[in-house]
């Protein structure tokens, strides 16, 4: 059976300033299958990033569950959830690079506990940077990069561990045409039979590539709807 990431009736409540509870997500259900790329679009503040964080195991929903291969990963305790999260690569909306480290060091961070040889670590880091056309930045410190370059480094950091689930939040947001094309090309290459890719996108360039996304969803007022 192909692996799948399933949202089952997920709701997330947030407490407002006045103490009342506001539903950020309301009974969201969806199935994300391996080998497919799903794009989630929607207006600002609709809850796209929140949904991605729940899918990646960074947030626990107030109700409902995320099932990975029929196992309720969103309800697991910290130790088990952390272990499962090693299979997930995340591209955040803001790159969140560590400024004290070089680009290469930032990229290899997720695989340090899993790869024993330093030479192999560096090689994997270079390969990830190379695939996005930014290997020349390897020795630069994180703070010296532009917003678009930082975003591409964060994508390299997400794919370096060859995750089974790739979750990307606005990966082309700060890119010019060339950068966006490189990222779309890389994400298209990433489409593999055993990989689930979920992308939150505002950017019309991503949605225009009809051959890129297998399924498109729209998140509006906390509810998720699949577009035909």
């Amino acid at each position: 059976m192909d692996s799948a990431l399933v949202c089952q009736d997920i709701s997330l409540l947030r407490r407002g300033w006045e103490g009342s509870q506001r539903a950020v997500l309301k009974n969201v259900s969806a199935v994300f299958k391996a080998g497919q790329v799903a794009i989630i679009s929607g207006p600002t503040g609709a809850g796209k990033s929140t949904l991605l964080h729940i899918l990646a195991g960074l947030l626990r929903p107030s109700q409902g569950q995320v099932l990975a291969d029929n196992r309720p990963v969103s309800r697991w305790n910290t130790a088990h959830r952390d272990r499962w999260r090693r299979k997930v690569g995340i591209v955040f909306q803001h790159p969140r690079l560590l400024n004290e480290l070089t680009v290469l060091e930032n990229v290899i961070l997720p695989i340090i506990p899993r790869v024993s040889s330093i030479a192999r670590l560096r090689q994997r880091g270079y390969e990830a940077l190379e695939s996005l056309g930014i290997s020349h930045l390897a020795g630069q410190p994180g703070f010296a990069l532009s917003g678009g370059e930082q975003q591409r480094v964060s994508i390299a950091r997400a794919i370096v561990s060859q995750p089974e689930i790739l979750i990307a939040d606005e990966p082309t947001a700060h890119q010019d045409e060339t950068g966006a094309a490189a990222i779309i090309h890389r994400l298209t290459e990433w489409k593999r039979p055993n990989t689930i890719t979920i992308i939150a996108a505002h950017d019309a360039r991503l949605r225009r590539h009809s051959d890129f996304a297998d399924r498109q969803f729209e998140l509006r007022c906390g509810g998720l709807k699949e577009l035909q």
Binding site: S11, L13, R71, R75, A79
Partner: protein
Amino acid sequence: MIWHPLLIAVLVGDLLSLLLLLAAAKTAFKIAIEWAPHSAASRQIRLERAAETGALTTRFALAAFFVASLVLIVAITNVLPAVIPGAMCGTGVLQATDGLGGRALFYRFLVLGIIYIWLILEKLNILRPDRPLTQRNARVLLLVLPFHLLAVSTTMQAVFRIDTHQPVDCCAVVYDQFRNLAVAQQTAGIPNTLWLWIFWTLTILLVFSGLQAWRAKPPGRVKAAGWMALLALLWVPAAAVVLIKVFSAYYYQVLHHHCPWCLFLSDHKFVGIPLFFTLAVVVLEGPTSFITAKIAVTYPQFVQTATRRSQIAGLRILLATIAFIGMVALPAIFWRLQFGVWIR
């Protein structure tokens, strides 16, 4: 009451552990009545998060209580005897608490024992993402609370009862027990030589049952581990009696000084610490072996890990028994070889 730094540390540690345990018990109570593992409702999800926090809180409570208990034992055995007039060891200190000290220690060991079982179950529980032992563990935690309250309140009463202006008759408490030689040579109406036979018989049975339990496979393991747990719980009082009434003489090198606390003094190279530690290992690991063997049968998902833990418990009992026998028998054998007689 004396404001000794160690006693203040004990009271602070006790109150801290009590507060932490009360916080964890609130969650445990909810888990005991509301836990619904198959539901994905918001109440259950909140409870699952609270369960994780509660388990962490209980670990901190256990750590605080354990450290406070260690500090209390050090204070009783090696610090307070110098402060209380007439006290030469823990016996004098406990006498100064009007018997409350002994009761407090009993409750403390009981609490540590129950929380140890909780810890063993929790360590198994977190190995599985679905945490099948959560509700059972919550009940164990709720069982601890009344004893913890008793332990803390009795310890406080005992500490407040200490009067450094009132002298105690330390050794008189030990020697006053004997009206004549016959009384000195028996415990609970049973002659000490018979206690010795009981001890050796139970030791052989314990070792034999330990080997049986090691070899047995589930579900037969439950019975074997049950026997071992029962024998361990019978062996410990017998071992304590023969240690105090028979073997301690070879450390003290005087006749009929039946005091458990003097073994903790530097004069006797703090030998009481390893001796009573081995007894604690046997009394804790006995029930652990049985409970984990039972868990392996009741919850098939734990069959490997729980069986392994049960085997480790058996091994620890075996090693602790051997260490105890070595520590009590070797001085006696050396004495016999040196002087040609036993002390009795």
